[in-house]
Amino acid sequence: MQITINGNDKQVSQHATVTDLFNLVAINPEQVVVEHNGSIISPADYDQTTLNDGDVIELIQFVGGG
């Protein structure tokens, strides 16, 4: 099935979780915040949160700013 991560379309397997997603894109979960279809997911729920076709994921992190 297909989801959108940070504006990019990605194919993921059925029943993939947010945790699976981190492995897929090789990003350290501790360094980002996750928005799943507009709501924030807490790290505790990464394993339980399964994705569906068409879901929109945003991975956000801190950068320098004034």
Partner: protein, 258 residues
């Protein structure tokens, strides 16, 4: 120098530092170190999933510095609120430097959206430090909405033009019940000192530190400028005069004066 109190916290430094636009993480850390600052602002952005970078947070000692996430990039109250919530979810304390800047050319703050976002975020328990135009009436309204400080601009962000808004900032300081932090446009230590001499509680600087060959030295210079201005304000600055006032005795020179 006396301490700075914002919300229920006390800070030793009256210089806040932004972390943007430095040539390297080391340059940023040097500037933070030499500025003596207690508060540093950070921004939130999408991860580039095709080329992920370390989070800025892995470089900053959060026991030493209070992270103040900003909402830069937001053009509406709604976008700013969303960013503030994400920052808190990322584990930051619920402090936010609120920025709503619809115009990408001058990056000036939107008074109406800024007030709206302040009202919402205060209700959600955030300590809100809104970036704002140098508008004394808006400052009062933000204060009434529960803003922890007001942050009037000195000049457009990154212009290094100094305290162009001095006359209105002076009115804001005169009327404010919360700390007034001058943000944006301060390009030299004399600009920061001037703001502090007027009675500003603190200043925030970024471009001026990132925009020099020697960020550490410029950070030291701004630290001294801020302390100089604050200490002069507390000591009591003499009035401006039209007529000269001799600093040497004029009488009793070696001539017999009638």
């Amino acid at each position: 120098m006396d301490n700075l109190q914002i919300a229920n916290r006390t800070f030793r430094s009256r210089l806040m530092v932004g972390t943007g636009k430095f040539s390297s993480h080391q340059a940023m850390l040097d500037a933070m170190e030499h500025s003596g600052c207690d508060i540093v602002t950070v921004a939130l952005r999408r991860v580039d999933i095709n080329n992920p970078q370390d989070s800025l947070l892995s470089h900053i000692d959060q026991d030493r510095y209070l992270l103040l996430p900003n909402t830069s990039g937001a053009r509406t109250a709604e976008e700013a609120i969303r960013l503030a919530r994400l920052a808190r979810a990322a584990g930051c304390e619920p402090w936010v430097k609120l920025e709503v800047t619809p115009d990408p050319y001058y990056l000036l703050p939107d008074p109406v959206e800024t007030l709206k976002a302040t009202e919402v975020l205060v209700k959600e328990g955030f300590v809100v430090l809104p970036y704002m135009p140098a508008d004394p009436v808006l400052a009062k309204r933000l204060e009434e909405a529960g803003a922890a400080t007001v942050m009037p601009l000195g000049a457009p962000i990154g212009t290094n033009r100094g305290l162009l808004t001095r006359d209105l900032v002076a009115i804001i300081i005169e009327q404010a019940q919360v700390p007034v932090v001058v943000d944006a446009g301060l390009g030299a230590p004399s600009h920061a000192a001037e703001a502090m001499e007027m009675g500003a509680a603190a200043v925030l600087v970024n471009t001026a530190l990132a925009d020099t060959p020697d960020p550490a030295a410029m950070a030291r210079a701004f630290r001294k400028g801020v302390e100089a201005g604050r200490e002069a304000f507390c000591a009591g600055i003499g009035p401006k005069r039209q007529q000269a006032s001799a600093s040497s005795p004029l009488t009793g020179f070696l001539r017999n004066e009638s």
